[in-house]
């Protein structure tokens, strides 16, 4: 039950009658007339209970793109349904016109579409739909809220894909070059081709040259079908905001770029998100589009406010790949006591695998370090210096163990991590 602005105006207009004949009788008469009008209008309104609702879930969408949620309403009353319909999406779904006026003649159906411009990654929900059915006079309405869950999955934006072309070019340049630098195990003979100026003379295949008139060189190609295992940390440290973006989202960007690059490089990519248990997982054995299944797995991830279980990671990696692989850990270097968690883990992993560690550094620390005008600023600079030194110490310790460390600011991390991968591949260390 609800009244409308028209009814309030009507009540206000009744004041004129009251001014002309100021008596209690007029008051009662006006009140009775208004009451009768409201009740009559409510009784004449189409019942919202007899509206059949159907929701078509919007398609998956990347962050900051548009999509459309469609509701179908069927009027099973014997009266025309004049209504205000609200498709109740949660605020971050960014519904443009969630409340719309509809007029559906008896027995017909209408579609109501709501444009969504989501502002958050993840699964966004619309728990219910509210119908407000007005009477023919438009004075009062019947209202009903129908539970009709809808869901919109907003995928990570993959902004770092703009780095992809340049990194792919770099990767292609590896073909035929890698072997020149490192002769030995792990490189594969590819083919023979004519010598062109600039080729390393050490790669000339004299046997083949003798059979022909032109000089022939051997080309090599980098190893293929290596395994890359990406671990994304979703523990409490991933919730920290750096440059107005959670550390987790930066990690997702980096993981996407690396995974796509490694797939194009012919390697097999496995992904898992972990804190104390596996939050998301993509298998290299699965068929289909890797990028698609990755974004699907990453979309609902959120930072959990619990401590990382470092000791459980080796078992997870072993379950994914029994062979030597490149294990990429996307985590943070300043998570409490790295001596107790991260460093023993890396020490254990490097025995069997190549370990690449990616971590987001806060650009604010660099700015804090440079401001030295007042005493409190100098103390802040000193504290920032200490934090950076501590990170540096942990990175040095990890490098000493044989792991690769990429510690970079949010925008830099994905390309630098990709570079590290290309470097490792060129060096035949996968």
């Amino acid at each position: 039950m609800a009244i409308t602005g028209r009814f309030v105006l009507l009540a206000f207009a009744a004041l004129a009658a009251l001014l002309l004949i100021p008596a209690w009788g007029t008051v009662l008469l006006a009140a009775a007339a208004l009451l009768a009008l409201v009740l009559g209008d409510v009784l004449m309104a189409a019942s919202p209970a007899k509206i059949a609702l159907q929701r078509k879930d919007p398609r998956n969408v990347t962050l900051h793109a548009d999509t459309e949620s469609v509701l179908t309403l069927e009027n099973r009353n014997r009266r025309t349904f004049r209504a205000m319909v609200r498709d109740a999406w949660q605020p971050s779904a960014g519904a443009v016109a969630p409340v719309q006026r509809l007029k559906i003649p008896a027995g017909e159906r209408r579609r109501m579409s709501v444009v969504l411009k989501p502002t958050r990654r993840g699964d966004l929900a619309a728990p219910h739909v509210t119908l407000r059915s007005f009477g023919p006079l438009g004075l009062a309405a019947r209202q009903r809220t129908v539970v009709l869950p809808g869901r919109l999955r907003v995928l990570p934006p993959f902004n770092s894909k703009r780095h992809l072309p340049s990194k792919l070019r770099k990767l292609r340049e590896l073909d035929g070059k890698a072997a020149v630098q490192i002769r030995g195990a792990g490189t594969e003979f590819d083919s023979l081709r004519d010598y062109v100026r600039g080729d390393d003379v050490r790669s000339i295949d004299w046997r083949a040259t003798a059979r022909r008139t032109a000089v022939v060189v051997r080309t090599w190609r980098p190893e293929r079908d290596r395994r890359v295992v990406i671990m994304l940390d979703t523990s409490r440290t991933a919730a920290a905001r750096i440059d107005d973006e959670p550390r987790l989202d930066t990690g997702i960007e980096a993981a996407l770029l690396l995974a796509v690059l490694a797939e194009r490089g012919g390697d097999r990519v496995d992904f898992f998100a972990f804190d104390r248990r596996v939050r998301g997982r993509v298998d290299s054995a699965a068929k289909g589009n890797l990028l698609g299944s990755l974004v699907q797995a990453m979309a609902p991830l959120g930072a959990e406010l619990i401590e990382m279980d470092w000791a459980a990671i080796p078992a997870q990696v072993r379950a994914i790949s029994a062979h030597r692989s490149l294990v990429v850990l996307l985590t943070s270097l300043d998570s409490g006591a790295p001596e107790e968690g991260l460093i023993p883990l890396v020490a254990q992993l490097v025995r069997q695998h190549t370990v690449l560690l990616g971590s987001v550094r806060d650009p604010l620390l660099g700015r804090m370090k440079k401001e030295r005008t007042t005493a409190s600023q100098v103390f802040r600079a000193s504290a920032a210096e200490r934090a950076l030194l501590d990170r540096e110490a942990v990175s040095a310790q990890l490098r000493q163990l044989g792991a690769e460390v990429v510690d970079a600011e949010p925008l830099e991390l994905p390309p630098l991590l990709a570079d590290a991968y290309i470097r490792l591949k060129a060096a035949g260390r996968l």
């Binding site: 309030v8 409340v99 728990p127 919730a239 007042t374 504290a383 920032a384």
Partner: protein, 389 residues
């Protein structure tokens, strides 16, 4: 059968509604109960008028009235002129106590009172009241500051028997025949009476009030003045006694008849507007908000710790270590490079003797915050010079 089902459905709905709004029902009940208790507990119309016969507060006069009652005097309180005159019609010899603090009574009413009463005792009358009562008795100022008691000093029996009374802040009156309790150098007194004793003026409210009744001879004077007759009418004039002819019309009479309805109806429309705007289109949808953790929070916390404990030395060590590490990296000396090697590299770059640089970079230990700020800026400049291309 269908009626049963319908009834069951309605009762179910009612139960669901009451369960959903249980919090509001409980809050409403509590508020209503509190309201009832407050109304029930508030004392019903307490008597707070000063010198009232029913007021037990310090400025009341319940004590004097009670004593008179026990002595056999019939004390009848009255708060309106009409009641007083009708009382007096039955008891023509009664004494009337009048305490008209705000001067409500006009001269005609005072004359009527004077005519119908056996005796009239007036407490602290103002100029207008006194003028309406008698031409013989005049106002004569107030008791001078510093005089707190006075002796009777006259031949009036009541006054001489009562003796000394407290007169602080009392008004003075000069009677043609009887004037008692005169301060020195003044011809007015606190007690004045007409020659026949039918009009008595008491200049002090303290003579009757509960808190000062027992002081000096106050009680004796008050009781003797009020007690000689069988009946005493205790009359405190109120606002209703003001003669109301010729007064300006009230707002109510001036307004046209529809104004009352206008207010009522506008209130109703306002309520309807509230209902119209206040009705929500379905329940709110929740947004699970993420935790916001600033990543530099730990560094900032540490900075505050340094500052609160004035850890100047520690702060300087951090800055020094950071600078040396970056310089070592810039000159590609390796992470384990000794400080002296860094120093030499810097001195070669900036063309400064290594000993001077050593003073700045390694040996200086700032002791105060201002020294620290100064030194921090200095090594930053030095670092910029050394790493400049």
């Amino acid at each position: 059968m269908t009626a049963d089902v319908q009834a069951a459905r309605w009762s179910l709905r009612l139960r669901a509604w009451s369960r959903r709004h249980m919090a509001w029902i409980i809050i409403g009940t509590i508020v209503a109960a509190l309201g009832v208790v407050t109304v029930a507990q508030s004392p019903s119309n307490p008597d707070t008028a000063s010198l009232s016969a029913g007021n037990a507060a310090p400025d009341g006069a319940m004590a004097a009235a009670e004593i008179l009652r026990r002595q056999g005097v019939t004390v009848t309180p009255s708060d309106s002129f009409a009641a007083t005159t009708s009382l007096l019609a039955g008891k023509p010899r009664a004494t009337v106590l009048v305490y008209d603090r705000n001067g409500y009574l006009d001269s005609a009413q005072l004359h009527t009172l004077q005519k119908s009463a056996g005796r009239l005792v007036v407490v602290a009358p103002g100029y207008r009241t006194l003028a309406g009562l008698s031409r013989q008795i005049r106002n004569a100022g107030v008791v001078p500051n510093g005089t707190s008691t006075l002796e009777a000093g006259c031949g009036q029996t009541d006054a001489t028997v009562a003796g000394r009374i407290s007169v602080k802040g009392a008004l003075l009156y000069k009677g043609a025949d009887v004037t008692c309790y005169r301060p020195s150098n003044n011809d007015g007194g606190v007690y004045a009476a007409s020659a026949d004793g039918r009009l008595v003026i008491l200049g002090s409210t303290a003579l009757l009030s509960n808190d000062l009744l027992q002081v000096e001879g106050n009680a004796a004077l008050a009781l003797r003045t009020l007690g000689p007759t069988q009946d005493l009418v205790w009359y405190l004039p109120g606002l209703s006694d003001v003669p109301n002819d010729g007064r300006p019309p009230t707002l109510d009479e001036l307004a046209p008849p529809w104004v009352g309805f206008l207010g009522l109806w506008v209130a109703v429309v306002a309520l309807l507007a509230v209902l119209w705007r206040g009705r929500r289109l379905g329940p709110l949808v929740f947004e699970p908000l993420p935790v916001v953790v600033k990543a530099v929070e730990t560094a900032e916390g540490r900075a505050r710790l340094y500052q609160d404990s004035r850890a100047v030395g520690q702060a300087a060590d951090n800055l020094r270590a950071g600078t040396l590490t970056r310089l070592a990296k810039h000159f590609r000396l390796g992470p384990e490079a000794p400080a002296n090697a860094v120093l030499e590299a810097v001195s070669r770059k900036v063309n400064h003797p290594a000993r001077e640089l050593r003073m700045v970079l390694l040996d200086h230990r700032p002791r105060t915050e201002s020294e620290l700020v100064h030194w921090a800026q200095r090594i930053e400049t030095l670092e910029q010079e050394a790493t400049a291309p």
